[in-house]
């Protein structure tokens, strides 16, 4: 839908053969071909498909960028020889796309813009290095990807191809059509290079294995992973680094890509520990790794590296213990998730609920000291805290005495000992001014169980009766 008319966004080969083109109104197309099958364009689905395709192309190079519309840009610098040269890589990609029912028009050139112009407006294929100008100068000015008005203005001036533009002095061009046009021209003709922005940031370290035949059995899969981990560990060691995140990509022969990430709390390159994490990860997958018709490539990327010194073997016991605990945390995080492996951090507040924060143990924690408890005093705060507090029915002395008896979970507790009230004011800067004051009591019932109760409101003649809540349990 563009403007007020329904228009064709795209048409397949048969439609093109019948004379339909993009941007034609639907009514027009229907008039020509009455039994036309038109589907509503789904930009989101197209986008997702393209991203999946980009994931697939990750097997060729880590630098894959989306190139709207319907295009992908691969930076294959230094990668092509792994796939039998540029021609081999091109054929491989074309075959893979054909298997998936796609038509591929691809070009390989020295600069991204040259390749793009060649693929979209030229014949595609490989542009040998340094030949950009010679081969691409006869492309139409539409290859510049400027707005339609500029193209019309250029053609009115008699400038139909890039060669016409290239022959003009660039100053006059930029004075008339803007600097961007000139830059674009220089890039297409290979005078200037630029970097593409990859969809997934390139990892610091990548190791991968490609297989001539797809394979599916789990044992050899693990053998490959073991080798990849060992290789990555050696690479990292040579660099004096350790990885914080390890990402395994399993490329299935039918194009599906499955990625598994493993995180460590501190930089690591310990192959054994990493393998344990991998096994843990595999074991806890909610939907298991499905080999389908087999994997034809496996890639281990380390997107996040940090400096890691060579460990000294004569460390004192404390350091070794810390290492062991960190390993344990990594394994637990892999199995249970970041937000389930916790450590407590003290917060500077008197509010009972906010006094401690449970943070994931996977990340380094801020140092905060806990105030030492008052000597000779019984615990002032409960061991277990209910969140939210549980409403109870209580009988208490007027006006602010501790409860004499209260009912919680259908059981009546007779209070034998009590202390309070300890008045805790709300934090108006966080809670707002409506939050009522709480009067806390430590009480012990006849059975010796200790509770932390609080009261909201006062016993007054002209107001609603106060409410009681059970907030915690003491040991």
């Amino acid at each position: 839908m563009q403007g007020n008319a329904l228009r064709l966004v795209d048409c397949d080969q048969r439609a093109v053969d019948l004379g339909l083109t993009r941007n034609m109104t639907l009514a027009d197309a229907r008039a020509r071909i009455p039994d036309l099958v038109a589907l509503e364009a789904q930009a989101q689905a197209d986008r997702e498909f393209l991203e999946a395709l980009a994931g697939f192309c990750d097997r060729f190079t880590p630098l894959v960028a989306l190139d709207d519309p319907h295009g992908l840009m691969l930076d294959i610098t230094g990668c092509a020889h792994l796939f039998g040269g540029e021609a081999g890589l091109g054929n491989l990609a074309a075959r893979a796309m054909q298997r998936g029912g796609l038509q591929l028009k691809a070009a390989i050139a020295g600069t991204p813009d040259a390749a793009r112009a060649c693929a979209r407006h030229g014949r595609g294929g490989i542009v040998p290095p340094g030949q950009e100008e010679a081969l691409l100068r006869f492309l139409p000015t539409a290859a510049l990807d400027t707005d339609a008005e500029t193209v019309i203005a250029l053609s009115r001036a008699g400038l139909k191809t890039l060669a016409h533009l290239a022959e003009r002095p660039s100053e006059t061009l930029s004075a008339r059509f803007g600097e961007a046009l000139v830059v674009k021209l220089r890039r297409i003709l290979g005078h200037e290079d630029r970097r593409i922005t990859p969809l997934r940031p390139p990892p610091d370290c990548v190791v991968e294995r490609h297989f001539a035949e797809p394979f599916a059995d789990t044992a050899s899969l693990e053998a490959v992973v073991v080798r990849l981990i060992g290789e990555a560990a050696r690479v990292l060691e040579a660099r004096g680094e350790g990885g914080r995140v390890f990402e395994l990509g399993f490329f299935r022969s039918d194009g599906a890509v499955r990625r598994l990430a493993m995180e460590t709390g501190r930089p690591s390159r310990d192959a054994k520990a990493l393998l344990r994490l991998y096994r843990e990860r595999i074991e806890t997958l909610s939907d298991p790794l499905d080999p389908g018709f087999g994997f034809d490539a496996i890639k281990l990327a380390v997107p996040l590296c940090e400096p890691l010194d060579t460990p000294q073997h004569s460390l004192d016991g404390r350091a070794i213990e810390e290492e062991a605990v960190a390993d344990l945390v990594d394994r637990l995080v892999t199995r249970f998730g970041r937000d389930r492996v916790l450590r407590f951090v003290a917060q500077d507040t008197h509010h009972p609920v906010r006094a401690a924060k449970a943070l994931s143990a996977a990340a380094p924690l801020p140092e905060a000291a806990w105030s030492a408890p008052e000597p000779q005093e019984p615990p002032a705060r409960p061991l277990q805290l209910f969140e939210p507090p549980q409403p109870v029915e209580a009988i208490a002395e007027v006006p602010d005495g501790p409860p004499i008896r209260f009912r919680w979970r259908r059981l009546t507790h007779d209070v034998a000992r009590a202390e309070g009230p300890e008045r805790i004011a709300p934090e108006w800067w966080r809670d707002g001014s409506d939050e009522p004051m709480r009067d806390y009591y430590r009480v012990e019932d006849a059975q010796g169980r200790r509770f932390w109760l609080y009261r909201i409101g006062f016993y007054e003649a002209d107001s609603a009766p106060p409410r009681w809540f059970l907030h915690g349990l003491f040991a």
Partner: protein
């Protein structure tokens, strides 16, 4: 000679244990700081072993938790070898919902620096046991607490043996806190039942230090079925026996001090009848 190796190690162990029994506070044991109790335990709880702590009733869970925490703190005292390491706690989400979440200031008030605690919250009992088993193999911890709710399905004799073996191998005490669970055969070295006990009142009838009524239900290779009434002394990090003449000792329901009960059949198993109904599963 594959057969002789375990026999030899068994022999060594029994010799070592015999040696331990003689010493006042033997190595490899966690003494509780209560002489009467430590005597029955031959010097304290065996460190590299599994111990079970049952809450007498669901409402006694906080008391049982407090006792378990006390044991963990005794096990990880800074002045010992391997002390001061983190205390690991695996807790089932359902316990959080039923009995409240662990409250760090409250841990602090009982003497545990909350920064020393490594907490894993697991969705189900199986996850709790898995996390516990994983942690029990890590020798750097000073204690492992495992707190599932009720009777997790996969927890059988084999699972408890696995925990006990892991504890033996790593030397880390594994404390299994059980609530709303019936006693079942297990590989635990000792089994305790904890009940909340009225504290000694402070001035103005305020509740005092945490107090527990302990009952040693079972001890492998030792006397069992005894009761004690102890208090947790946070400042000294030890348990203290409640004196007989304390001014507020209650006589209503709690047993008198440290009295021996009727000895049981030789296997140390206890029958469910003949004792209070608190152990039965509730909820």
């Amino acid at each position: 000679m594959p057969e002789t190796a375990p026999t030899l190690s068994d022999l060594r162990r029994s010799l070592a244990e015999a040696a331990l029994r003689s010493g006042p506070v033997a190595a490899g044991r966690i003494d509780l700081g209560v002489p009467a109790l430590d005597e029955v335990l031959n010097g304290g709880l065996v460190r590299a072993a599994l111990h079970e702590i049952y809450a007498a009733e669901v409402a006694d869970l906080a008391a049982a938790t407090g006792f378990a925490l006390g044991l963990a703190l005794r096990a990880g005292r800074i002045d010992r070898k391997g002390g001061g390491g983190p205390i690991f706690w695996a807790r089932q989400d359902f316990v959080d919902a039923e009995a409240g979440r662990l409250h760090a200031p409250g841990l602090n008030e009982l003497g545990l620096d909350p920064a020393r605690l490594l907490l894993v919250r697991a969705r189900d009992g199986e996850g709790v046991l898995r996390a516990g088993a994983e942690a029990a193999r890590c020798a750097a911890l000073s204690a492992v607490l495992i707190e599932p709710w009720g009777e997790p399905r996969p927890f059988d004799l084999t699972a408890s043996r696995r925990l006990a073996l892991a504890a033996e191998a790593s030397g880390v005490p594994v404390l299994l806190l059980r609530v709303a669970a019936a006693e079942a055969p297990s590989a635990a070295r000792t089994r305790w039942q904890v009940r909340a006990l009225a504290s000694r009142a402070l001035e103005a009838n305020a509740p005092g230090a945490p107090a527990f009524a302990l009952r040693l239900l079972r001890q492998r290779g030792g006397a069992a079925e005894r009761e004690w009434r102890v208090e947790w002394d946070r400042d000294r990090h030890c348990f203290a026996e409640r004196s007989l003449f304390d001014r507020s000792a209650r006589t209503d329901h709690a047993a008198p001090l440290s009295r021996p009960l009727v000895p049981l059949s030789g296997d140390g198993q206890v029958t469910a009848d003949g004792r209070d109904s608190g152990l039965r599963r509730t909820g």
